[in-house]
Amino acid sequence: MSAEPAVPRTARPQRLTGFGRTAPTTALVAPISSEADVLAALREPGPRGITARGLGSSYGDPAQNAGGLVLDMTGLDRIHAIDADSGIVTVDAGVSLDALMRAALPFGLWVPVLPGTRQVTVGGAIASDIHGKNHHTAGSFGNHVRSIDLATADGTVHTLTPDGPESDLFWATVGGMGLTGVMLRATVALKRCESAYFVVDTDRTANLDELMELLTDGSDDRYDYSAAWFDTTTTGAALGRAVLTRGSLARRDELPAKLRKAPLKFDAPQLLRFPDVFPNGLANPRTLRAFSELWYRKAPRRQRDAVQNITAFYQVLDVFADWNRVYGKRGFLQYQFLVPMGAEDSFRRIVEKIAASNHASGLNVLKRFGAGNNAPLSFPEAGWTITVDFPIAAGLAELCTELDTLVLDAGGRHYLAKESRTSPAAIRCGYPRLDEWRKVRSAADPAGVFTSDMARRLELV
């Protein structure tokens, strides 16, 4: 008697990486377009297990599963219902935030948490418990999820809610990097909006201290959205000079007459797709220094009440598809960490260390977080977060290891959606509730069906 094929017939071997284009591995990728497809895969998980993958926008390896099965969830992409009155939407896990936003805007509904790109799926947004520039006022994505339909390893589908009977599995799934099961659908509470535009204030600061002052003088709470770009190539009195942009969604009456006719028009073109022709080393300290100088100089010193669309204010890089190719074949890594409130000194030392190193980063973001949520592996909590992008180069591993020490000593942690190179010990240290999460996870998946390259690398499960 011949055995059933261990994987769906449509699965094909594919080399996968994250957005950083580092650490490629090969897995069987199965296209998923229905709940039945997911349940079929769960019946024959194979020896190397299963991981779900959305749009692959995590920088590292959480959506890779070397030698195993990867479920391509982007085909499970139906928007089931949008309730214009309550603002509650029911969507498949493979729906992108871009698609959700385009569908919801005509109803005057806004996706409550948006990361720096709209090219992430709802499932990915929950698995990473993503945050945006409005974390200090709105919290992370999981805070807005009303329910999740999760297919667990035994092939059953659970409808999880934040305070229902299986709330522990709900919160283990929020931020759980896809390791509790396969998310099929979710209901999410959207936010009411009058326009798709922002009213934005810009402040250019001479250094990091000035920036931190602006972020702590109470003014930050007047804006729904707030984040700063800062310079990692300047030292001394100009250490961490920054451009702080803060704003809120515009009311209709705040728009100029021209925009008032169609305030909910979604104005976000994709202008350019980068070809895969860039050599390693094009993004080097010299070019990144020039880029930083330009970026700083082009910003107004002080500007009030400017009306900007989402591209200008929020998701500048969504104008370019595949911009990660600029870093060449060797790829790059994004280093994002947080340190709690009160650890401003260590925060400063970390920025000094980056500025003094010979590794430059162009796209640097600094943001103040509000309070965290219930999820044991959720990244944000009250404190400061920094994101820097380093092209892969000799000596980078050593610099990052030194930064790890500073971050962990300050009581901070790494963001798993960006992580691609730290040690299991660093994650244990940064996430003291890891064991609590593991208990919930192993109760839902006792045989360890759900795994990923990241789970293996960081010994998460």
Binding site: A27, R48, G67, L333, A397, R421, R457
Partner: protein, 251 residues
């Protein structure tokens, strides 16, 4: 898993007492507490190697391995993978022997061919099976410039390395679709125990130099490297020297 900056978390060394092999393991560990499996014959030297790596924080496992005993290779390799994924496997065993004995004594010739070629192939096949299932990882095969153009002075050794070099270059192609990388390393004269007493050739290197080249190759997913790097150009020229001239060269 090999991470974004090219650092592995586990290394298997076949030829557990090889000086070059151990230098490679130390360099890949880079002071981090990785898992190391040393496959070799039980000996004082193997114990020393274990102690040295453990002192650096590595978790070390040893497996009894004999290159000539090809029938046991699959089992030894399977044991190494039973303890978890292997990120990098280094095929580092080999014999140099006395070149003049090797081409005149049948036993010596067969031993050299068996260890350097047959055993390397046997191990390669076993590794390929495990790595394909795993879907990631790197195999590093220590070849030699002696195999790139075989010369009179050590042609039994050279021919055995030429064979293993060709096998692993082919394996590199065969494993590409499964996401497994193979790096063939061609060192020149390496100053080690194996070459003690021989007068070093120009461009000679140390085991630690070879380790640098290998760590860089693993990091950058290179398929064929020379140690030192400039040997690539030298060998490229030597390959095309006509035989009447080649035999007169002091090589």
């Amino acid at each position: 898993m090999i991470d974004a900056v090219g650092n592995p978390q586990s290394v298997l060394l076949l030829g557990g007492t090889s000086e070059i092999g151990l230098a490679i393991v130390r360099r890949l560990a880079g002071g981090r507490p990785i898992r190391v499996v040393l496959a070799g014959r039980a000996s004082g030297r193997l114990d020393e190697a274990v102690a040295g790596l453990e002192q650096g924080g590595c978790a070390v496992q040893t497996l009894d391995f004999s290159a000539v005993d090809t029938g046991t290779h699959a089992e030894v390799v399977a044991k190494a993978f039973a303890g978890g994924d292997i990120d990098v496997a280094v095929v580092a065993f080999g014999v140099l022997g006395d070149a003049e004995v090797a081409w005149q004594d049948v036993d010596a010739a067969v031993e050299m061919a068996t260890v350097n070629y047959t055993a390397a192939v046997s191990v390669g096949v076993a590794l390929a099976g495990q790595f394909r299932t795993q879907g990631h990882g790197a195999i590093v095969a220590l070849s030699s410039v002696a195999g790139e153009r075989v010369r009179r002075s050590n042609f039994v050794y050279g021919s055995s390395k030429a064979g293993m070099d060709g096998f692993y270059l082919g394996l590199s192609e065969a494993l590409r679709p499964s996401g497994v990388r193979v790096t063939v390393v061609r060192p020149g004269f390496v100053k080690t125990r194996m070459t003690a007493g021989m007068s070093p050739a120009p461009l000679s290197v140390t085991a630690s130099d070879v380790a640098d080249v290998v760590a860089d190759a693993v990091r950058n997913q290179r398929e064929l490297v020379w140690a030192p790097g400039p040997l690539r150009a030298v060998m490229s020229a030597l390959r095309h020297v006509p035989r009447p001239i080649f035999r007169r060269l002091p090589l």
